[in-house]
Symmetry: C2
Subunit: 345 residues, 2 copies
């Protein structure tokens, strides 16, 4: 065997095909290959063809890490949400993913468990990946996190919640308005003894915003808006069923329950089915989200539907617009919601 070059290949150099290999094979400079990969129209047709052939022949796959280090971003979009066990966020992520999937951007997933300190730490970490942009749930963040996000000079889209001020762009719903809307509906339907049921309200301030809207509307109508039940568990069907029974025990005269999401509300209806409690005759039930299950229940659930998937799509579009060079003031979008009145109220 021939004496192999000694001393070369010091690092790993695992034998992966590099841009330089392609360049050599095509008989051009590395930078030309780079151009073919990233800005094909800057290269003459002849050379482009030649390079593309070399790429195919060698099975070259660009090292995005090296590219990311040399240039600006890595075509990674971190998405930071409170939880991956809550369907809402999953739907939004799905919308983002679907919109980004053919643009060459990849989602980096992070969850904070509703903890703003954890969120700040996570932001630091993901900024270490030189992301092209970032999507993050909520408008409230630690001061440090906001500074870092502003300093990184990259598009930032804040989602879920629509509000007056944002770091860069914002897509979401007005939670207080959602609470008001459903409360108004219940009042108009003639219900007077209404409780609000939430979960994890200590941490999830968007639930609090909805509750406050609800309360405000009831008090405007001269009704006691302070009837509140909450617990600290995840919003499962089971929890919904239990909270339903607890609410009726706590306030025996109740004629309606406004749940902070459809999971709990559906759990309540399923529990009512099991126990033979009649909804809405014995007690009305309302939810929030517009989950697919809501319309399949008996009785079908009155709910406020939020276009979660579309919210993700819009967030991704804002991000792409910024990445596409769109400058100027904040891109903002109130994605809206729809009151869907069904048989449960």
């Amino acid at each position: 065997m021939g004496k192999t070059e000694r001393g070369r290949r010091r690092h790993k150099g695992v034998g992966r095909v590099t841009l330089g290999d392609v360049a050599k094979h095509a008989g051009v400079a590395p930078i030309t290959v780079s151009r073919v990969m990233n800005n094909p129209d800057q290269v003459s047709e002849k050379l482009r063809k030649r390079v593309e052939q070399a790429v195919d022949a060698l099975g070259y796959v660009p090292n995005l890490i090296a590219g990311g280090l040399a240039s600006a971003g890595t075509r990674v979009i971190p998405v930071i949400v409170p939880s991956l066990s809550i369907l809402t966020y999953i739907d939004v992520i799905h919308g983002i993913q679907q919109t980004l999937e053919d643009t060459g951007y990849q989602l980096l997933l992070g969850s904070t468990d509703f903890d703003l300190d954890r969120e700040a730490a996570l932001i630091d970490t993901v900024l270490g990946y030189s992301p092209s942009g970032i999507i993050i749930a909520g408008l409230r963040h630690r001061e440090r996190a906001i500074q870092r996000l502003e300093a990184c000079q990259r598009p930032v889209v804040e989602i879920m919640e629509y509000g007056a001020s944002c770091i860069d762009s914002n897509v979401g719903v007005d939670n207080a308005e959602v609470g008001r809307c459903m409360a108004r509906h219940l009042v108009e339907r003639g219900y007077r003894r209404i409780a609000y049921v939430g979960s994890r309200m200590d941490r999830d301030y968007r639930t609090i915003q909805r509750y406050e809207g609800h309360r405000e509307m009831l008090e405007l109508a001269g009704i006691d808006g302070s009837r509140l039940l909450q617990n600290d568990e995840a919003a499962s069907y089971k929890t919904g069923g239990r909270l339903f029974m607890e609410a009726m025990a706590s306030y025996p005269d109740l004629d309606a329950i406004h749940f902070t999401n459809d999971n709990l509300a559906a759990g309540a209806i399923l529990e009512a089915n099991r126990r033979g409690i009649r909804v809405p005759d014995d007690i009305a039930v309302a939810g929030y989200l517009g989950l697919p299950l809501s319309e399949c229940l008996t009785p079908a659930l009155t709910t406020v539907s939020v276009p979660r998937f579309e919210m993700g799509v819009q967030a991704a579009k804002f991000l792409l617009a910024r990445l596409d060079g769109e400058q100027g003031e904040a891109l903002r979008c109130d994605i809206g919601f729809e009151l869907i009145v069904r048989d449960s109220t």
Copy 2:
């Protein structure tokens, strides 16, 4: 003002604090700072303290991209699944995320829509991020994809499906056995005219595996196992309801329906509730997955429960074991399943 160094800072150098800045501030060599960040116990206490102070003082956040380029991996774990709208995968991802979250690894999300070519392309892309390892759904891949995964010399965990041969490690369930198990239960319960209902069976071969197990078991018992209904939509409650009615129309003498997942089965029960069809007296319904909803229905759904979250946890553990230097043959785990008999059969 002093004349600023001309010619320096050619690239962006956005002013981010670098490892070199920290080194200067602490009066040590850059490599020492690197060690403090990555292998603290290789550095004396004195210097370590000094460096840590400098890190805090300057607010240094490591550039993982640069680190990834210089060394092996980027502490990114791509997770490639068929779909983000299917709860099963979400639960698994959640398990992975939870297990990895405090280890400094970040999830990179990719979905293939059950398309193996798309999967192969996605694998190429994510390998461009020099990931530390990779988690991917399924044991069947394009030849090219398998080659790339083997060539990348990184831990690969194949999930969802448990089988004889895998690239590196494997955590999953035996789908055919699941199909057999539920079919056996139905036969033992005395049902004889049984249909199987699936969706997207053209693409989701794991559903086919369950169906084949089901069919095999029925035919072993001398029962016609070929009664099959399928469609191409996503497995929603609505679809389940519709398929339920279609199945009863196609095979009017049916006494049981074996659905390929709980979404469809739940949709069937909800539809039955709406129409006053009695389950299981008029017709029995069985599912697969063990979704939380299954036990809240009336009647509660008989299902095969799969520890999805735990599957994710186990996959992440295998990955961490490999990353921790564990060598040797394939790490394999049949995560198992549990037949949960409830009122619907």
